[in-house]
Symmetry: C2
Subunit: 291 residues, 2 copies
């Protein structure tokens, strides 16, 4: 999905939030915003939003000297989610349709996204999301794709949300490779964050090698790109993965909550709805060859 002009206010908002997370005073916040304004002036709208916010968060880290502004917030999110894990396991075990329950939990975990909304009451919100209708439900295609698949590549999103991915990983009847960021960016999960969430016990952890939000393939390691190119089925969590991979073809299934009206419009789905969306286009195979 390309960037829209509506994304511009959001880049500024994200820069401010990250700068404050890193402890920047108002003068430093101002300098950071000045740099971000320059990036925005030079940005091309054919870029995806994470390609632009990638630069934004690099500026924040460079100017503040804080390598992981969201470290404490990520640890809190993971702890909070871990407290809910026994309940999640019960929800899935008691469900008539275990796969659907696990998918819904995984999507509900997408609430833990400080980049979009700093306030949430986790358990209440999750319970609400579990009962809501899907905005897009490609569940039938997802079941067909999962049937007999040899391996699944699972693209992680935020720390804490990682815990909500575990029930789905445990429900899928195939080995899962769980890919996290190579370096901190916003509150996205790194290897350390995924380990703290217990994901290493149920999946093989790998790194994308990138510090961009979402999956900006040209910033990923060659090794990751090979894994990506060979994958038969990819589960991509969260808005940023949709923004970066939306045209990557039908082997990618996007699991997210539409927390941004621009993304909801791009998906032609209601704002704040559950999305299980099978990708369109053939970018996946094509792009891998080009890279």
């Amino acid at each position: 999905m390309r960037a829209y002009l509506d994304c511009y206010p959001c880049f500024l908002r994200q820069a401010l939030e990250a700068a404050r997370m890193a402890g920047a005073d108002e003068q430093l916040q101002r300098r950071i915003l000045g740099r971000v304004l320059e990036v925005m002036k030079g940005a091309t709208l054919s870029a995806t939003p994470p390609q632009i916010s990638h630069q934004v968060h690099r500026i924040v880290r460079r100017e503040t000297g804080v390598d992981d502004p969201y470290r404490a917030a990520k640890a809190r999110s993971t702890e909070e989610a871990l407290r809910l894990y026994p309940w999640m396991a019960q929800v899935v075990a008691a469900a008539h349709d275990r796969l659907d329950a696990a998918v819904r939990l995984s999507i509900a975990g997408n609430i833990i996204d400080l980049a979009a909304n700093a306030d949430y009451e986790l358990r209440d919100e999750v319970t609400r999301v579990l009962q809501e209708p899907y905005g897009i439900d490609d569940g039938d295609a997802f079941r067909v794709a999962l049937d007999g698949v040899e391996q699944v590549l699972y693209l992680a999103d935020n720390a804490g949300e990682t815990v909500f991915d575990r029930p789905l990983i445990e429900t899928i009847d195939a080995p899962v490779i769980y890919a996290v960021k190579g370096h901190p960016t916003i509150n996205d999960a790194t290897i350390a964050d995924a380990r703290a969430a217990g994901v290493a016990e149920v999946a093989e952890l790998i790194s994308t090698g990138s510090d961009a939000p979402g999956t900006v393939l040209e910033t990923c390691s060659e090794r990751f790109r090979r894994t990506y190119g060979e994958a038969d089925l990819i589960i991509a969590k969260g808005q940023a993965n949709y923004e970066t991979l939306s045209t990557e073809g039908p082997r990618v299934f996007f699991l997210l909550l539409t927390k941004c009206p621009v993304i909801a419009r791009d998906l032609d789905a209601p704002h704040r709805s559950l999305i299980l969306y099978q990708g369109r286009g053939d970018g996946g195979r094509r792009q891998e060859k080009e890279l």
Copy 2:
């Protein structure tokens, strides 16, 4: 109230909205945002937010060649509010405390503010606001100030909201001078908008001579500044008038809804609450001499 860095995303959002209101295509929207980014880079935070958005809306008008992007929206707001006027008159007539009812209606009219929120169900929202507690209630001081006053200067806000000002003007036991913008800016009322709302029947209409949101005194006509300087009691409607006149002293009473979290914080009041606030500082008298 000075500008905060949190205002920056909002300047961009306002520029985009106004550009679209003026019918700009994406290429022109982009050029406008580019100009606005430059203004923001050069802006000083000691300015009030309307001093900066003044430049933003000038850019939109100049680049689009559309002198009044909100003309149709303003006409719709006025018509919609006029349909509610008979009901408003009943609400005040039936009230135990007529002044309080009229003040609440006037504040409730502040919902018609497209710059802050494009979606609202007018009658429902107004009814809700009429029943809510005040976030700040300087009603006692307001009654004392009104008692025996010779004349009231009433600084208008948006078109449509003007209709909601009529019950208060009719309730106040003194002649009212109703000041509107000298030139269109956002959805702020001009002389024509105030006439369409029927305000000319209950108050003397004057123009500030300015095309800035709020009341940026240095951009107002000498004639308006004289009227302003001589006024014993000023009613200032809406957020932008608070932003520009918050330190103008106790003769200014601000009536608004806190629709912006930055303004709510500056007022030390809850977000989305009714405000009847007596100004602090002595800027009113002092500044008039300096001008």
